[in-house]
Structure formats: structure tokens, C-alpha cells
Subunit: 389 residues, 2 copies
Amino acid sequence: MDDFVFRNPTKIIFGKGKEKSVGKEALAYGCRVLLHYGGGSIKKTGLYKTVITSLKEAGIEVTELGGVKPNPRVSLVREAVELCREKRIDLILAVGGGSVIDSAKAISVGVPYEGDVWDFYSGKAAAETALPVAVILTLPAAGSESSDGSVITNEEGMLKRPYGSSLLYPVFSILNPELAFTLPKFQIACGIADMMAHVLERYFTNSKPVGLSDRLLEGTMKNIVDYAQSVLINQEDYNSWAEIMWSGTLAHNNLFGVDRENDWASHDIEHELSGIYDIAHGAGLAVIFPAWMKYNYRQDIDRFAQWAVRVWNVEEDFWSREKTALAGIQKFEDFLRSLGLATTLEGVGIDESRLEEMADKCTNGDTITKGGFVKLNKDDVLNILRLAL
Amino acid sequence: MDDFVFRNPTKIIFGKGKEKSVGKEALAYGCRVLLHYGGGSIKKTGLYKTVITSLKEAGIEVTELGGVKPNPRVSLVREAVELCREKRIDLILAVGGGSVIDSAKAISVGVPYEGDVWDFYSGKAAAETALPVAVILTLPAAGSESSDGSVITNEEGMLKRPYGSSLLYPVFSILNPELAFTLPKFQIACGIADMMAHVLERYFTNSKPVGLSDRLLEGTMKNIVDYAQSVLINQEDYNSWAEIMWSGTLAHNNLFGVDRENDWASHDIEHELSGIYDIAHGAGLAVIFPAWMKYNYRQDIDRFAQWAVRVWNVEEDFWSREKTALAGIQKFEDFLRSLGLATTLEGVGIDESRLEEMADKCTNGDTITKGGFVKLNKDDVLNILRLAL
């Protein structure tokens, strides 16, 4: 087990109707709130009205900024930074999924910073202070509601880059599974692929032994598989949504991956896909992860075999560990397809024309490697992309 | 899944030699520290010197109070409260296991409180503020290093009572598995029984569905079973100790039990045993829990069968779910015995003479019930104690 430091201060408020208490919760952080959201679906569902009512009843002055797009843009973040300064905002309330939360997190470090907020994402600066961010989650997927990370896209060059800091943990996150009832099926499927990927990025490791975190990660994957079909078939099944939503949060609050080397190459490769083609992150992961597995499973066939047996109930082939491992990868790919997701680049409308460009961008012109479990150079990334065609 | 609020702010610092950084960590809370410890084993092992050196190098003024006994006494807590006031202590540093940590937590709420600290444990008062508590853990067992609970014994009437408050989460806890290398085997075994009990108190529930927390609790139990023998046989096996120590912490930080009704009757019954007979808490739990199971498994045979199959690898008897359930209980009892623990009252030196008195105290003269999964009155508690003879 690796040494680690872990502290996740986010207060999770979980259950039916909990968004109604947002005003009371928010007031602890001040009386000027930026309400940050996406394309306006919260107005259709009535959530917007509930939130505004709760905030106003608490005596909070609300400034609004909607319009966050999937793969959230740095241009909107910059606009929001100026707005927060002008309005002397105390708390940024993100109402939405990962894109809205990540946009809010970028704003939170941008406001007190003298330079340009992209400096954090380009590796030029580290945040020293931040405005508090709070969340009402509408899309179980990214896990950003209790993570220390954020991913932003810079339209200049379509660069999609992550930034992590303990300052980015939300101060509180409200999780009401009912808010997921109205999601389109495709978004649900992408969300499930994303949370599975968060577990897998931690699961494939060279750290040994990692008995407890293996069990916890396996349990989380099994539970996602157990309830995925239920939420796709009966979208108003509260209990199944509760299982999926809580799984998505724990998949990425980092408790289960803190004692082990993580990988994260699949996320980095996917960021090039959604950066250039603007596809949904989860849809990109469903393409990249199976290819990444096929390219890398020989790094630790025992680990892949354990995963196949424990998570996918593959019956062990005692004369061929490799067959056991490969059967697990097959089951994972079958699972992704059962959600209605494509597992090839062709299936998400990407041809081979820009693979080289993506591999180059991902490895910064072959000057850096990606991944922890297996270190990938530009050629490796290109091979994985080709395997995914 | 039940509604919940969860926030665990304890910073976990895990790894070899991490106790050397205690001075730097402590300084963030002030420069006057009460060093609280037990019977002096930390002086034999050299830990005392390491801690004092680190604190002094950070410029911290140290006040010492050792002498915490297993089943920590309110009299010492009262003494410490006076001492902290006199020395204007900023932070209480507990170096030890659950008894020392629980004593430190009681002191922490006692110092700013005008009345007697026992008021919290007798249910007469709720804490409104507390001094910060920090921990260097030497005995993986109680989970108090990242829990919001504390258990104290009042010598008048030998009452052992719990108190819980979010104010009781330690601000930081240093977990170095090396510090467990010198523990006596009996203490190791009691610690393992205690952490298993913390998982079981959460596992047996009427809340439905609890898919994710079932998986996480099962994974924690499986991991404790996987590594228990290793730490008993080879006490200097760092990696096995790391697994046991981290399991013990997660068994009781409440993340895995927050979405479900818990039970806790076995703990309450055991408190009467160790309150009156001053036996080790883990030793008492190894006696009470199997008896509690035999008395209550009919409440939900499906749940006991799931536990038997998933945790104990019992092969399901498809024609008798009860047989499957009972086979799990048998495996659990076998496991406790394999640690060298007794699973009968006789084995811990308790005869039938005071069973009635214990059942009466536990249920406050049959005026309250105990437990969440099954509600137990005085007769039920007495029946469980008789089953354990």
C-alpha cells in the first residue's frame, strides 16, 4: 500500500427534495451567490424555480450565469470571473452535472487570481485561494461534486485540460436522485461509462498489495453494473438512481484510490477526442477504455483475471489466465454496448484522419508519457486509437 | 437507500514514519498541546521520544497526561479538563488506541463546557464547541481516529456510555502501520474483532436497497479476514498491517453505513460486560456478536444468506436458505476462534451471576429497547447473554 494523505471535506446532503434546503446551507458562506448552470434544462424541470425560491427565502442576493456547454469553455469562465468580482460574490452554486461544476470550480480559483485562469490548466500556476463552490447535482457521472478536480476546454486549439487542487472540493453537494429522472437515455449511458472509468483508472495499478481498495473498487463496479439497466429502463426508479448516484460520487471522491498509483491515460486520450470532436466525455471513454485494455492487459494478467472473476463473474480458466483476463474485457465491452454506447471510433463518428494529431497533442509532441499502470508514448497512444477504429 | 448527511473532515496521514511530522501538523492549531497517552508503552517503543522531539522542534509547549486505562475513566477526563483550562491548551494530541482517543475526545468537549463532562454521556447535554483533537494511532481497532464517537466509563456504577457529535472528528490522524508491530497478540485479536463488529453493526439493517454499502461493507470484511492471520503470525509484516489498519479506519468512519439504519445492540450489550468486568471491548464483542446473530438471524434470513455467500464463501444451499445463513454464522465464529478469542462468556471468565443485572442496565430497567435491525427489550438481552454462556 502506498503512503497517502486524504481529506475530503465536502458535506454530502443526500435524499428526496434536499435541494429545497439550499438557501439555508448557502447562507453559511455569505449572502451573495452566483447561480451557475447549463443550457436551461433546469428551467424546464422546475429545479431553477425551487432553487431561486430557496435562496431568496434565505435572504440571498442571486446573480445568474447560465450557458455552460458540455466540455465547458474557458471563455465563459473568464466572463464569470469578472462578474463575480463586480458583484462581490461569496459562493458559486453549480446546478447541473460535471460541466457546470467544473466551470464553477475554474471560476472559484480564477476570481482571487491576478493572472488568467487558464494558467492553472496549462500548468503555469497553482491556486493559493478560492471562492467556495457548492453543488446541486443533476447528472450522476463526473463525480466532480466531491472531487478535487476540474476539466476545462480552451477554444484556442480546442485544448481540454484538467486541474486538481484541494481548494476545489465543493463545500457542500446536494444529491437528490429524483433530479436524474428526466435525463435523456444517452446522457445516462455516458454518465455510467464515466463513473465506471473513474473506478477503472484507479483499479489498474502496479501498487501491491492493495487488498482493501481492490475490494472497494470492485464493489463499486459491481453495484454500477447491478443498477445500470434499471435506471435506463425505468427512469423514475428512485432506489436504483440512488444506487447509481451514490456510486458515481464514491467512484471519484478518491477515498478508494488514494493508497495506490492510478493510471488516467484513458481520460487523457479521451480529452483529445472530446476536445477536437466535442463528443460527450462518457461516449469517448466507452471507445477508449476497451482499446486501452486490449493494448495493455499483458502488463498484469493476474490483475485483469482478478477483475474478470470478481467483477464480471467470469469462471476462471485454470489453464489460461490470459483467457480469463480477455473474457473480462469482453464482458466490459458487452456491458458498455448494453447501455447503447458505441465502443469504436467509427461508432462515435470519428475516422482515422486526425488520429496522429490527437496522439501528438496528448503526448505534447511525444515529449511526455501518459498513464501510471503503463507509460504510453505517442506511438502507444496512436496504436490504442487505431485499435479503437 | 435512506436519506443522509455525511461529512468527515479528518485528515488522514498514512505511511511509514509519518509520526515524525506531528509537530508541523499540530502547529496549525496552536502552540500549546496536551499529549495524552495510556500506560506508558509508548515510552518503551520510543514513540514518546519521537513525538516529543517533533513537537518541541516545531516550537510547541507540551503538557503531558498519561495513564489512560482501557475502558477510559471519566475521573481522568475531569482531571484533564482542569489541566487544559489551566494551561490554556490549543490541541489535544492522543497517542494510542481507542481508549486514549476517546478520552481525548471527552476532554475536548469538556474543556469549553460549564457543567460536568459526564452530562454528554448521560444524555443530559449536547456539545456546542470543542477543542481540536489529533491522533497518532498505535492500535488498529476502535476506528475512533476518524469517527465522531467516543465511549467513556463512569466508575460510579461502572457505567460505560457512548457520545457522538460531529465535533468529535479528529482534525488529523497519523496512521503508521509500523506502530502496530509491537502489540501483544491478544490486543491484535481484540482489535480485529472490534473492527469486524463495526462493519457488522452497519451490515445488519432493514433499509432496502443498500446495494453499494452492502458491497463496501462486504469488501471490508473480506479484507479483514484476508489479512488477519498475517498480522498475528508475522507481526512485522508492514503491508498486512497497512491493510488491517486502513480497514479498521474505514470500518468506522461511517461512510459505509450512512445510508442505512444501523443496529449497535451488540455494542450496547458488550458495554455492560466490559463496564462491569473490565474486559477488553473486542473480547466482549467476540462473545456477544455470535450469540446476537443466532438469536436474530430469522429477522432477515436472506440478508444472512447473502452475507454467508459473499463474505464467507459459503456455497449456497438452494433448498435451505436457513442452512446457508447458519453456515455463515458458523464461519464467523470459527474466524473469531482462529484469532485465539473465546466466543462464550465462560471463555472470558463471566458466569451467570450478573446476567440479569447487565440486561437491566442495558435497557435502563426495561424502559428502552436496543438495536435497529431487531429491537431488543430486557428479556431479549438476557436471552442473548444466556445463549452466550
